[in-house]
Each structure stands twice: as structure tokens, then as C-alpha cells.
């Protein structure tokens, strides 16, 4: 039996109750919520941003409920979040946003990561999706799709053990959603992340995650 990367005895987010869930290496698991707010609460609980009840969020055999802030931060460094709008910081440009967590986690890897980033952005289809010049833009100058793509690049460069995505396709129009889905599929191909925890609203699942990603796994 595979060791679970993540397991939960179930979560209670106010009105919403979610059943037990387990995520093993090489797998994907999804918690579908009925609305945006519930998936955000779920994300906060799973990532230790809110204190979950004991057993509700256990990453790499460590129960978030029993960890202190520093221990949770250490654990989060093994993951990469993929959130709505890319989860970018408003006063840093897109390029700095992409490099920020890596600069914090492992400064010695920044040089190599910069070269990797340049290589990716020179390649099809990235050179059309996110032209290199756009890296100097601040997030408010970029489209929602560009911010999401920057989030995908960041998750790629972090080389995490698992990716947690929350409401990733929120606010994207149909065409942009297709591009974002392609970017996520690309990330699945190239990222060393061995598992993917998906927290999203019910309405988004069929067309984006459901059809293209969860189904692809089967």
C-alpha cells in the first residue's frame, strides 16, 4: 500500500462537510465545493492558514493541527500552491513574483531557475502565452490569464512534491480557460510533483479539471 502524502479524516467548513480523503504519490484527489468561499476555506485548512481539527489535514504523516507556525512553513516549502489569479504579490512584477518563493527557499538554485525560466518562455507555446517582456509588468497590468500562467511557471520552478490547486480557473473566460488548462496539463507533464490536490468549485470541474485533467488520469 502506498504511503499517503496527504490524508484527511474529513473536514467541516461551516455549512459544508467533506468526507475523508487520501492522496498518494502519483495520484490526484479533488474536493469539489459548491461555492468559491468554501473552497477558499478548504484551502486555508489544508495549507495550515487556519488551524484544522486534529486528523483533518495530515501532510507527509504530519498533522497540521499539532505543528507550530515554523513547522507548517517548513512543510509548505515541499508544496506548491496554484491559486486563482496565480496568487501574485501586487507590488512585485510578474518575473519577481515567479522567482520570489525560490529566492526565499533556495537562493543557490535561483541562477539555474532563471535559465530554466528563460528557456521555457522561449519555447512554444509559452512565447505566445506569456511573452518575456510581460515579466516586467506589475500584476495589475496583466490579464487574469497571464497571472494564472505566472502561477503555473512558479509551481514549475519550485519543483514541489505535491501541488495544491484552489479555484484555479476562477474568473477566466472560456478561451482563457482553455489556455490555462493547456498550461496545467503542461505542468503535469514537466513537474516532478507526484500528486495533486484539487480544491475547486463544482461549476468549474466538468469543463476544466474534470474533462481534461482528472479524466486524463484514468
Amino acid at each position: 500500500m502506498k504511503t499517503p502524502l496527504f490524508k484527511s479524516s474529513g473536514l467541516d467548513c461551516g455549512e459544508h462537510r467533506y468526507p475523508a480523503l487520501q492522496l498518494t504519490a502519483g495520484g490526484m484527489a479533488g474536493w469539489r465545493t459548491t461555492d468559491h468561499a468554501a473552497s477558499v476555506v478548504l484551502f486555508d485548512l489544508v495549507m495550515g492558514l487556519r488551524r484544522p481539527p486534529p486528523g483533518a489535514a495530515v501532510w507527509f504523516d504530519q498533522d497540521l493541527a499539532g505543528l507550530n507556525a515554523e513547522e507548517i512553513l517548513g512543510l509548505l516549502r515541499r508544496l506548491a500552491p496554484l491559486t486563482s489569479g496565480g496568487g501574485l504579490i501586487g507590488n512585485l512584477n510578474i518575473g519577481d513574483n515567479v522567482m520570489l518563493p525560490l529566492t526565499e527557499r533556495d537562493p543557490s538554485a535561483v541562477e539555474q531557475a532563471t535559465a530554466e525560466l528563460e528557456e521555457v518562455l522561449d519555447r512554444d507555446p509559452w512565447k505566445y502565452w506569456l511573452p518575456g517582456g510581460h515579466l516586467t509588468r506589475l500584476p495589475f497590468q496583466a490579464t487574469h490569464l497571464e497571472r494564472c500562467l505566472a502561477g503555473v511557471l512558479r509551481a514549475y520552478l519550485l519543483k514541489p512534491e505535491a501541488i495544491v490547486s484552489c479555484h484555479f480557473f476562477h474568473l477566466l473566460e472560456a478561451e482563457a480557460r482553455q489556455t490555462a488548462t493547456s498550461a496545467v496539463l503542461w505542468l503535469r507533464e514537466v513537474s516532478p510533483a507526484s500528486a495533486w490536490l484539487i480544491l475547486t468549485a463544482e461549476s468549474q470541474l466538468p469543463e476544466a479539471w474534470g474533462a481534461n485533467i482528472l479524466e486524463a488520469k484514468r
Binding site: L76, D96, L100, V110
Partner: protein, 256 residues
């Protein structure tokens, strides 16, 4: 009478709670000091030094010149044209007290308010949570560079202000009145004691720390909703102002 003591007790509890929060944040920040030497905190520190220190210089120069000239002129007139006495009072009142307070209030109004509203805005936009979910400690990344920059800038700007007030203010005095510039500078330097310089440096470091800590703490603790950002900024201003004045009082009480 009982109501009075109840009110006083509540006020004391409120004061202790805020004091503990500020001291806690400052101590936590001290632990992150070594990280200021490397990216990305280093870049944030330099950016804050630029905004708080360099960009402030033109207007602060004007304020320092006017303060130096106006205070010397007024003291010279009141003290019956006695240069020695004028310089003694100028040194004790303007250089040792007023100039540091002026610079602290200037930095508070300019950078403290900006820091409080920026961090409050980041909190409301969920950026603090984003940083945390990326494994980045917001207090190491956002708070430590800002507090360090304010400590450095208040100290450096205070020295700049005092030098400008003395050299520039005395120069203006010599232009507009019968004031011997070189003699005044020589007499001013003669009366300057090492203890005064140490006290000035200590005060500037403490005031910079107060502004940085209080403004960062209030920004990080902003409540959600439309009143969150203005509320955090207002509280940061009032608490910093009060803490600086209390700090000045304590310095005077302890060191004269």
C-alpha cells in the same frame, strides 16, 4: 470612583495588550535580522531606504534650513543677541530634542502611513496568506526589512537634518542678520559633548524602531472590510505618535 478604576483598569489592559504585540513583533523581527543580508529581503530593505531616506531629502532639507534659521533667529532675539547663550539653548532644545522629533514625525507621516496602508492592503487582498502558503514567513519577508530601513533612515535623516540646520541655518542667519558664521560654528562645536551625540543616536534608533514596529503591526492586523485600511493607518499614526512622545519623555526623565 469605582467606575474610574474600572476604566483605568481597562485602559491599562489595552495598553499592555498593544505593548505586548509591538514588543513581540519587534523581538520576532530581530530573529530575522541575518536574512536581511540576502535576497529578496535585502532588495526590499534597499527599496524602503530609498523611499524613506533618499526621496525625503529635498523637502527635509528645506524644513531643516527653515528650522535652523527660524529657531536661531528667535533665540538670538529673545536672548538679547548673546551668541553663546543662543547656541547653548539651540543645542539643548533644537539639536537634542526638536530635530529628532521633527524627523521622526516626518518619517511617520511619509513612510509610516504608507507602510501601514500597504500591509493592510496586502492583508485584505490575501497576499499575506499567499506568502504563507508559498512557505514564506511574512514577518521575515515584509516586516524585518521595513523596520530595519526605518531605524537606519530615522538615524541618518536626523544627523542630516541637524547638520543642515546648523550649517545652513547659521548661513542664512549670517545673510539676514549680524551673525558671525565661522565663530558660531566654532562655538557650537565646542559645546557639543560625546554624551549628547550618544543620546541623539540612541533616540533616533528607538524612534525608528517604534515607527517601523507599530506601523507594520497595525498593517498586518488590519480588519477586513472598507474601514480596514484607513483604520489601520489611523491607529498606526496615533499609536506611533503617542509612543514617540512617551519615549521622548522617558529619555528626558532618565538622561535629562
Amino acid at each position: 470612583m469605582r467606575a474610574f478604576f474600572q476604566q483605568a483598569g481597562r485602559f491599562l489592559a489595552w495598553l499592555l495588550a498593544y505593548g505586548a504585540a509591538y514588543v513581540g513583533l519587534f523581538i520576532e523581527t530581530l530573529g530575522h535580522a541575518p536574512r536581511l543580508l540576502r535576497e529578496p529581503a535585502r532588495r526590499l530593505l534597499l527599496k524602503q531606504v530609498y523611499f524613506t531616506g533618499i526621496e525625503t531629502l529635498p523637502l527635509l532639507t528645506v524644513v531643516a534650513l527653515v528650522t535652523g534659521y527660524a529657531s536661531t533667529s528667535a533665540l538670538h532675539r529673545v536672548l538679547l543677541q548673546d551668541m553663546g547663550l543662543t547656541l547653548d539653548v539651540f543645542r539643548a532644545l533644537v539639536i537634542r530634542e526638536a530635530s529628532i522629533l521633527l524627523v521622526a514625525f516626518y518619517v511617520l507621516a511619509r513612510s509610516g502611513s504608507a507602510i501601514a496602508s500597504e500591509l493592510a492592503n496586502m492583508r485584505q487582498n490575501g497576499e499575506l496568506a499567499t506568502l504563507y502558503s508559498l512557505g514564506i514567513d511574512p514577518s521575515a519577508y515584509l516586516v524585518a526589512p521595513r523596520i530595519a530601513a526605518l531605524v537606519l533612515c530615522v538615524a541618518a535623516l536626523s544627523v542630516y537634518f541637524q547638520v543642515t540646520a546648523v550649517f545652513g541655518g547659521f548661513a542664512l542667519m549670517s545673510i539676514f542678520s549680524d551673525w558671525d558664521y565661522l565663530l558660531a560654528i566654532a562655538k557650537f562645536n565646542d559645546g557639543l559633548e560625546a554624551g549628547t551625540i550618544v543620546l541623539i543616536v540612541a533616540k533616533t534608533l528607538v524612534f525608528g524602531g517604534i515607527i517601523g514596529t507599530v506601523c507594520c503591526q497595525q498593517g498586518l492586523a488590519a480588519v477586513p472590510g472598507p474601514l480596514g485600511i484607513p483604520g489601520a493607518t489611523r491607529t498606526a499614526m496615533i499609536h506611533s505618535f503617542t509612543a514617540i512622545v512617551l519615549g521622548e519623555g522617558m529619555f528626558v526623565a532618565l538622561f535629562g
